[in-house]
Amino acid sequence: MMGSVLAAGGEAGAYVPAREPQFVLAVVLGLLFALGTFLVLRRDIVRVVWGITILSQAANVYLVTMGGLAGSVPFVGHGDHGATATTDPLVQALVLTAIVIGFGTTAFALVLTYRVYEEHGTIDLTEIGDTHE
């Protein structure tokens, strides 16, 4: 039963909105990535963590953008009400996972920062790098 239903999935259909070039998002994401990169290159570990947070936020926004912004909410039954397209649920599922994992890495990075400060007495990456030379 399950197998036969699964096999029926091959038909081509277009239930996700057609994409259009997103100029606003391109500019916004370009800026966010640039600012995130700038922060990652700082000497202060806390700022590096901020940079990583911004980069991952921007990446998530990019993925959601790729799912199409003009559809309706991906709930069962929404198609009944005349909407022709739904936003991509798969992308949303992936991003949801990514947000949670991003939280895990941020928490870890912060505690690591704290530990680095305890070990080295500084959060200046240049100083920490020098002690290893």
Binding site: V5, A12, G13, Y15, V16, E20, P21, Q22, V24, L25, A26, V28, L29, F33, A34, L35, G36, T37, V40, L41, R42, R43, D44, V46, W50, T53, V61, V64, T65, M66, L69, A70, V73, P74, V76, G77, H78, D80, P89, L90, Q92, A93, L96, T97, I99, V100, F103, G104, T105, T106, A107, F108, V111, T113, Y114, Y117, I123, D124, G129, D130
Partner: protein
């Protein structure tokens, strides 16, 4: 009769299981773990014996993936050759593990030692029984790895590190060559199955040889596999790792580096003999074997340490076996196979015994230097008796066991030369020449026990029985084989032994018909034949030269110190040369995060932009702002917030503005019809804010002022990254691929109503995103949970461990 699946699984699996349990067992039994491990080896030995006695031969296979073209199976094959190696691995395993109980008494790292030895034994049994090239390769590399761990047993010693690295580099590199050879052969045969079925590689040997030849790949395949065997079995010039491997504790040297692991190479040659038999085969392996036999024997005479002597001697005897398997010429091929098969057995018996004796000497006399030892028989009478049997076997003196297999080699080389003539006459000459040196160092080893005891040598203690017994057992085995030759001359043969060796010969036989079923027998020669004459010459010459042993050794040592003549010099130069590439490393690896981030981000950006340029991707023309106004406003605020983060005067201000960015992203998700994301984002953003504030409380304020030049450089780099992202977003959002995966879910989510609400019915949820997360991509979710769990554990470790004072 087919071998029982469970017996086969137990033979190979049990040692690994025992290795995994060793930490537990060690906690319970302490030093007696040695005897528990020996018991495991004994079980494997009995099971191998059961296969041998019940005449269980053939294929045992567990299929894993059974798709056409992907027949992936764990398969083992039982025949004479695999049983021989299986007997050696498990039987000598029993003795070595027992011996270790005495030897390792005061040594460090016993738990690791026993676990690795057991894992090695399992790997070696795997190599012996493997019927599939991939299975063979995997177990083969496992033996290399366990050998690496065991050679580096004394992890603090520089010489151990050097030795372990050297053996790893050479044997693993050799293994990779071998793998390439396997791929060539398997590519031609269309299967990785080596033995046991009608389509197996050996079964279609002839067509594979022809096919490879037609593609010009025969010689490359042969040479590649030959390199693998040579690296493992320490053939010149790849022999150099073996003497260094003597850094390992002596039981390891006896087990891995004389009786079993180094036999893997000769086993490979024996296994592939029926498959790749050809003139090139003979040329390659007879040359390699005889050169190794001679060169290593000469080097053994030059040795100053008893274990070094035994190491070179091992390489030399492996050369003899390889030369034997190499002979395929007219009329001599049976002798060749008999040399190889029989000498594997003989060598394992006498060499392992000698290593155990060397361990006893080192342990009880406190030195391994040949010049400091002598007259030991008074204090070590049992070891002396063992040495008499084993060393005379090694020397090839009748009626001791090594004599018979060496006779087969002489016979094989003589027959070959006789049939082929010309340059082939070099072979018997070289065989005799190399054997003279073998005789010399064997006698030198024996003389450690006789003559005057040097004054400097203090009192030598008697070793514990756990160390004496294994050596005695091996000597008895060697002795019985020797006596079998004497009685054989009178017509009384040791039937089980000869029948077993016949089976080994069968497994390596090249023509199924002539040799097949040929009965193997050996006996002390009763009449004067050419091989007997060759043996007599060897012993005679050896006896004449022996008084000049000292001068001979000095000459060899002088020759060896000439760099160009020493293989070690090439190895060290090569490794040093590679080490010098650290210059590159120190400029790239600065230890500064910004260097890594900069290189990584710029490299990705530049490569991406380059790819766009190379494929001439056009930017879409500006078609107006498609985003609704609220979204534009929200995103605008987000960018302003991000700007504010970079300009934040303090950490707290930065975190607060970062939060603004996060909440704006949440609103963007609402506007983008992603309610789940918005909820998650809001929750996480709140948590992150709290977390940041908690941690920042503990950190000092730091305002990293940067020079203007650095700021400019970073701004340019950020600009490049930003432009890359800008272009990427534009290009990708303009693309409209067909058949998107999302359609699969949407159809079943009832988006066109006629498909029904499948997701609701079977997934039990109306929210498609949720159903995807818990049903379709449940593994992703599992991974996500694992990441959070790992992060939590790491946080606990980082904080709690510090507070418990477990650092420095």
């Amino acid at each position: 009769m087919q071998p029982n699946q469970w017996v086969m699984a137990a033979i190979v699996g049990l040692p690994f299981l025992a290795a995994a349990l060793t930490p537990l067992v060690y906690r319970l039994l302490g030093e007696r773990t040695a005897y528990a491990s020996a018991a495991v080896a004994a079980v494997s030995f009995v099971l191998v014996g059961q296969l041998a006695i019940t005449d269980a031969r053939g294929l045992v296979s567990w299929t894993w993936i059974d798709a056409p073209g992907f027949d992936v199976a764990l398969s083992f094959y039982v025949d004479g050759l695999s049983l021989l190696i299986g007997f050696l691995a498990s039987g000598i395993g029993i003795l070595i593990l027992t011996y270790s109980g005495g030897y390792m008494h005061e040594e460090p790292g016993k738990m690791k030692f026993y676990a690795t030895l057991l894992a090695f034994m399992g790997s070696m049994l795997g190599v012996a029984f493997a019927a599939d090239l991939i299975v063979l390769f995997v177990f083969w590399e496992l033996t290399s790895i366990s050998s690496f761990i065991l050679i580096g047993h004394y992890t603090g010693e520089t010489s151990s590190q050097y030795a372990a690295r050297k053996s790893m580099l050479i044997t693993v590199a050799g293994g990779l060559f071998m793998l390439l050879g396997f791929l060539l052969v398997a590519g031609e045969g269309g299967t990785f199955q080596l033995l046991g079925t009608d389509q197996a590689l050996i079964a279609q040997a002839e067509s594979i040889r022809e096919g490879l030849r037609a593609d010009g790949l025969f010689v490359p395949a042969l040479v590649l596999i030959g390199i693998g065997a040579a690296a493992k079995s320490a053939q010149v010039p790849l022999h150099i790792w073996l003497p260094n491997a003597m850094e390992a504790p002596t039981p390891v040297s006896a087990f891995l580096h004389s009786a079993t692991m180094v036999k893997a190479g000769v086993y490979l040659v024996g296994r592939f003999r029926p498959l790749l038999v050809s003139d090139e085969w003979q040329l390659l392996f007879v040359t390699m074997g005889l050169v190794t036999m001679t060169v290593a024997a000469i080097l053994a005479v030059g040795a100053s340490d008893i274990k070094e002597l035994l190491a070179y001697s091992t390489a030399s005897h492996l050369g003899l076996i390889i030369a034997g398997f190499g002979v395929i010429g007219a009329g001599a091929n049976t002798y060749g196979a008999e040399t190889g098969a029989f000498h594997i057995l003989n060598h394992a018996a006498f060499k392992a015994a000698l290593f155990l004796v060397a361990g006893i000497i080192a342990h009880e006399a406190g030195t391994r230097m040949i010049d400091d030892l002598g007259g030991l028989w008074r204090e070590l009478p049992i070891a002396a008796a063992v040495t008499v049997v084993a060393a005379l076997g090694m020397a090839g003196v009748p009626p001791f066991n090594g004599f018979y297999s060496k006779e087969f080699l002489f016979e094989a080389t003589y027959e070959l030369a006789h049939a082929s003539g010309g340059l082939w006459w070099i072979l018997p000459a070289v065989a005799v020449f190399g054997s003279v040196f073998t005789f010399l160092y064997s006698i030198r080893f024996l003389m450690l026990f006789f003559g005057e005891k040097p004054d400097a040598l203090g009192h030598v203690h008697a070793p514990p029985w756990s160390m004496r017994l294994p050596a005695v057992v091996l000597a008895v085995v060697a002795g019985i084989i020797g006596i079998g030759g004497i009685t054989g001359a009178a017509g009384v043969h040791i039937e089980p032994l000869e029948a077993f060796v016949s089976q080994v010969v069968d497994a390596t036989a090249i023509e199924h018909g002539g040799e097949h079923g040929a009965h193997f027998e050996y006996y002390l020669p009763t009449e004067l034949t050419v091989p007997v004459l060759m043996s007599a010459t060897t012993i005679g010459l050896g006896a004449v030269v022996y008084p000049f042993y000292g001068q001979l050794r000095d000459t060899i040592v002088r020759l060896r110190s000439v760099p160009v003549l020493s293989a070690n010099w090439y190895y060290d130069s090569a490794v040093d040369g590679l080490d010098r590439s650290r210059v590159v490393e120190s400029t790239i690896q600065t230890g500064l995060l910004r260097t890594y981030a900069l290189v990584l981000l710029l490299a990705v950006s530049v490569m991406t932009l380059f790819a766009y340029a190379a494929t001439a991707v056009g930017l879409p023309s500006f078609s107006g702002i498609v985003s609704p106004v609220p979204m534009v406003i929200v995103l605008g605020v987000a960018v302003v917030a991000a700007f504010a983060v970079t300009r934040a005067p303090s950490h707290v201000a930065g975190v607060l503005t970062l939060s603004i960015l996060g909440f704006m992203v949440a609103i963007f998700y609402i506007l983008g019809d992603a309610p789940d994301l918005a909820l998650t984002q809001l929750l996480i953003e709140t948590l992150v804010l709290v977390l940041f504030l908690l941690v920042l409380d503990k950190l000092p304020p730091f305002y990293g002022e940067a020079r203007r030049s650095i700021l400019a450089r970073d701004a340019i780099a950020s600009g490049i990254v930003g432009i890359t992202v800008f272009v990427t977003v534009l290009v990708t959002t303009a693309a409209n691929p067909e058949n998107r995966i999302a359609n699969f879910f949407l159809e079943r989510g009832g988006v066109p109503a006629e498909h029904g609400t499948w997701i609701l019915d079977y997934g039990g949820g109306a929210n498609i995103v949720n159903v995807i997360l818990v049903d379709f991509r449940a593994f992703d979710t599992l991974g996500e949970i694992s990441v959070i769990a790992m992060a939590a554990l790491s946080v606990i470790a980082l904080i709690a461990m510090r507070e418990r004072g477990e650092t420095q």
